[in-house]
């Protein structure tokens, strides 16, 4: 009986593999075995991308004139549903392998030393847009709060329930910014007020808005879209 079940399961596995070559669309892609195989290749691609990544190679910077003023809004819900964070009550929480976990106010964040970048935002959907962001290199912030930068990952959580994370090499990249301004204006509500992480070496969905928590960890943080099948590393 048990043996028979096992055999049937094997047969079914064989059939779905056979179906792979037929490429009939829906059925193959939704099969669990295929999903597992694709996820395994995606994890392999994470490692390939981490190896390709250089901590010193900079994303191309552009002339300020090319920066788009009316930047595209993108999320799984409309802009009027975007979180509305209050400067008086907002606190950035710190967690994990960080020495000083005192929460940060908007005023304290905005008092950090700032720089600007004009870089290209590339969305996993295929569109791209050049923007000008101003803020603090995350590396400076991590050092200031005594983060263990020998840890493997930095994760973040957002006011809209979004969550993501990145490898430490990317977190320490000189162009990975806590961005407070877009086009020289304080970040508008729909673009992540009071701040977003701007990571020009990652696809757009790795650049979170309305960040409320930053944590340092040795366990690979989950990501909202990676949990829904997108590649975790998603480096550019």
């Amino acid at each position: 009986m048990e043996h028979d079940l096992e055999r049937r399961r094997l047969l079914r596995g064989g059939l779905s593999l056979g179906a792979l070559t037929l490429l009939t669309g829906c059925d193959i892609s939704d099969g669990d075995a295929v999903q597992r195989a694709l996820a395994a290749v995606s994890r392999w691609n994470d490692r390939v991308q981490a190896a390709l990544f250089s901590g010193t190679r900079l994303a191309p910077e552009f002339d300020e004139k090319l920066a788009v003023k009316n930047f595209r809004y993108n999320a799984w819900y409309p802009a009027d549903k975007a979180p509305k964070l209050d400067a008086d009550t907002y606190r950035l929480k710190l967690a994990g392998l960080i020495e000083t976990k005192k929460p940060w106010t908007v005023q304290e964040l905005y008092a950090l030393p700032q720089a600007s970048q004009v870089t290209r935002h590339v969305c996993v959907e295929g569109w791209n847009m050049i923007g000008k962001w101003t803020g603090t290199p995350l590396r400076v912030f991590l050092q200031r709060v005594g983060a263990d930068t020998s840890a493997r990952y930095v994760g973040y959580e957002c006011a809209d329930g979004y969550y993501e994370g990145m490898d430490m090499a990317t977190a320490l990249h000189p162009q990975t910014f806590m961005a407070f301004k877009l086009s020289d204006e304080i970040l508008p509500r729909k673009h992540g007020y009071p701040f977003k992480l701007r990571i020009p070496t990652k696809l757009g969905f790795k650049n979170p808005k309305w960040v409320t928590t930053i944590f340092v960890t040795n366990t690979q943080p989950h990501g909202f879209w990676p949990d829904r099948g997108y590649n975790w590393f998603s480096g550019s």
Binding site: G25, A37, L38, S54, V124, G126, N128, R228, G229, G235
Partner: protein, 224 residues
């Protein structure tokens, strides 16, 4: 031996490389069309039934995603199959002398000659010998696959390989190059499959490794 017969033989390695590329190209085009549909370059989308990436309604309700995640997963798995099969095909072609024997010489003059003959249905097919239109197409599609790999890298890594992306006119330029060579490969596929349908023996040799046929207008040699 097979005197009087035309014969075509394909080494096992070449057949593996050929069919692996065929499968990889179907995966890459199917998933690529789904990815394209999310942000079209030109004012059209591909029919969703022809794309690869799972049921759209399912993933929309489950993940808020129209199967693009799945299509990308296919695409970035298929690329390894394509790369491997392409390199195997090239290695075999160069090392065995297959390219030297069968793909060259070919030039614009001889191409035009054979093209006109083919267009007026006067080009006889000799099993095992590639006419000059065939030669140009086979060389062309290999170049197109190479360009797909290169432009794909430029789209995938516009920061780490910024010089390559710049060479293609930036990120959107690289997307367009990637699209155009896709179109070239799909065009090749249509012609290739149609011609195989006209000369089915070529399919037999690409599957079984060997096919024989009588030359055009010749009766079977005595004794066979």
């Amino acid at each position: 031996m097979s005197e009087g017969y035309e014969e075509q033989r394909h080494h096992l390695l070449l057949r593996i490389a050929h069919w692996a590329q065929a499968l990889a190209i179907l995966i890459m085009v199917g998933s690529g069309w789904r990815i394209y549909n999310q942000e079209p370059i030109f004012p059209f989308r591909f029919p969703v039934e022809l794309t690869l990436g799972g049921g759209i309604k399912q993933t929309l309700s489950r993940n808020n995603d129209p199967g693009v995640a799945n299509a990308i997963a296919w695409h970035f798995a298929g690329m390894w199959l394509l790369l491997g099969a392409f390199l195997l095909f090239l290695a075999y072609g160069f090392v065995s002398g297959h390219f030297r024997r069968s793909y060259v010489p070919v030039g614009p003059k001889s191409f035009l000659r054979d093209f006109i003959a083919a267009a007026t249905f006067r080009l006889p097919h000799t099993l095992g010998v590639y006419n000059h239109v065939q030669r140009a197409l086979y060389i062309g599609v290999l170049i197109a696959v190479l360009m797909m790999l290169v432009s794909g890298l430029a789209v995938w890594k516009p920061v780490q390989l910024a010089w390559l992306t710049a060479l293609m006119g930036g990120f959107q330029g690289a997307r367009i190059v990637h699209f155009l060579f896709m179109a070239a490969i799909v065009g090749f596929l249509a012609v290739h499959v149609a011609l195989v349908a006209l000369v089915p023996k070529t399919l037999q040799s690409m599957v079984l490794g060997r096919a024989r046929a009588l030359p055009h207008g010749h009766a079977a040699p005595a004794g066979e």
